[in-house]
Each structure stands twice: as structure tokens, then as C-alpha cells.
Symmetry: C2
Subunit: 154 residues, 2 copies
DNA sequence: ATACATGCAAACATTTTGCTTTGGC
DNA sequence: GCCAAAGCAAAATGTTTGCATGTAT
């Protein structure tokens, strides 16, 4: 493959670890080893992760946070709007880091479970404001997942 | 309120009970009292229901299907694409009947949990074909939910 | 009569909470 | 040293399976 594929690749404008840690600090939270491991795991993730996956990955280094810790940290990060749940129609919950500017959606294969990240601009983003006005809701976020058969499975 | 509100109300082009029963029959499935109760419950539902809610509602009449039955029937209906899961960020799964032509999405209040059905044309529907081609997926369905503060809670 | 479907009970998975101990500030 | 956070254990909740019995066809 040449550079044409790469030309379409978008810049992942993600939070940096330091930016997130600064947010935690300014919220009066403490920077523990476990939290750092979890955040590094999320930063490296190429797809949404379950709590167990986060714990496993975060335990590679020296930290090895307890499952309960992962559970509580993820709850906190979700409330702080630093992470988001992604619905993959599986038994457990999946999380991903929320990017400050960019929003992307997912395609999930109904056969093999594979998750593809969509790189185009989200078609819903533009409607959000209109919907807020029409239905009187405020602070709208959304969650959009596509389900179908991936190239391999179809 | 005058008729102006009603003017925007759309026709709920839903399956009829008989249509669904015909589909079950042609799939070689048997028409039991429990299944009928469940389907009637889904037809009357004004919002997505959990398995327990379906069981409770379906037990009003004489049928009273067991929870396991509800679980299995819903799984089957989902595979048959007659119902769909809706993600409300709650502990359990919620289901709704899938309409043959019309597709609608939901707005969920993050404070009180209230669910509002959206009546406009779904902005994603139009993109689905494009996405199928671009990513090589087939038979795409999607799930779109908005989360925010409802008029009462904001 | 013959499967298919149900009900019941038990297993399983995941999420959540209580409480004691640890460690960041 | 103080108090938030972690770890551990146990409970609560929700989902799924096995098997004997019932029932639609």
C-alpha cells in the first residue's frame, strides 16, 4: 500500500497523559500508580476495552490495579467525561477515551465481533444542536454504532 | 393543545400481530400463548422494555410466561430481526419492536432516565449505504441514542 | 405422536458495595 | 498525619444453560 491510504488517515487529536493528569489534579484527585496504568492503557487502546481487558493490560507493568479499582476509576472518568461507554452488544461494558475535538463511531461485526473505527466526520454531530432545541434537552452527547457483517464474514 | 402538534405526528407503520405471527409460522415456530402475550406487550409499548418489564406486562393476561421464556423468545425475535436492543446505559437490556419501514432513535435523560422517542427521519439512515461500501460491511443496522438533560431536569 | 417450547432450578458472569489497609499529598 | 484510594471479600444483579414436563402442530 502506498501513501494514498495514509493520506486519508486523520490526526488522532487525543488528550496526552499529562493533560489528563492535570485534570485529575485540578479536580482534587490523587495521581496513583494504578490510575496512571489505566490511563496509559486507554491511551494505547486501538478499540474499546472492557473492564477486565483494562485491568489485564494495566497489569503488564508494575502497577497491577485491582478489578474494583478499575471499576471505580472508570466510573469516575466517565463522570468527568474523559471516557465514554461504547455499546458492542456484548455481555460487558466497553470503554474508550473521549477525544477533546474529534468524535468517532464504530462498526461491529455481528459474526466475529470485530470492531472497526470510523474515520469520517460523524453525520450526527451536526444535528445535535437542532435536536436539543426541538426536544428541549441540554448537553446532548450521543452513541452511534453500526452492526453488520465485516468483509471477512460476509 | 390544538391540532398543530398532531399534524407533525407520524404514522407508526408497525407490524401487526398477525403479520408477525405469520413470520413465526413460516419460520417453523409454534404460536404459543406466551409468545402472543410477549408480542402484544411489545406492540403496546411506548418505550423500550427490559426483559423483566416484558415479563411483568405479558403476565397481565392469563399467559404469564416465565422469565426464561421471555429471555429465549426475545433472543429468537432478535435473530429474526423483529426486535432490536436499545442501549439506555442501564444495568439491563432493553428491547423494542423493529418497524418495517420506519426507524426511530431515542433521547435518554441522564438524570431521571426518561426516554423520548425521536420522530424525525434518522440522519444516519442515508449514510448507511455509503458506509457499507467504504468499509466493506454488509447488512448494516445501527443503534443511535442521545444522552442529555431533559426539559424537567436541566 | 413428535418435536418444539416452557418452567423450574441452578450455574455463570458482571457489577456493585462495605470495610480495612495503604499511600499520595 | 490526614484523608482519598486501593485491595479484598462478599453481595447484588442480570444473563444463560440443563433437563424434565407440557403442548402446538
Amino acid at each position: 500500500m502506498g501513501s494514498s491510504a495514509r493520506r486519508h488517515a486523520h490526526l488522532h487529536t487525543r488528550f496526552t497523559l499529562d493533560q489528563i493528569l492535570a485534570r485529575l489534579r485540578s479536580a482534587g484527585m490523587r495521581i496513583t500508580k494504578g490510575r496512571q496504568q489505566i490511563l496509559i492503557t486507554l491511551l494505547n487502546a486501538k478499540r474499546p476495552l472492557s473492564l477486565h481487558e483494562i485491568q489485564d493490560a494495566a497489569s503488564q507493568g508494575s502497577g497491577a490495579p485491582d478489578f474494583t479499582t478499575v471499576f471505580r476509576v472508570m466510573n469516575t472518568l466517565e463522570k468527568m467525561q474523559l471516557v465514554q461507554q461504547v455499546h458492542l452488544n456484548r455481555a460487558s461494558r466497553y470503554y474508550e477515551l473521549l477525544n477533546p475535538e474529534e468524535h468517532h463511531d464504530h462498526i461491529v461485526c455481528t459474526e466475529c465481533g470485530r470492531v472497526t473505527l470510523m474515520v469520517e466526520a460523524c453525520p450526527v454531530q451536526a444535528y445535535q444542536r437542532t435536536i436539543e432545541r426541538r426536544y428541549g434537552y441540554a448537553d446532548l452527547k450521543h452513541s452511534l454504532e453500526f452492526f453488520g457483517k465485516c468483509p471477512e464474514c460476509k
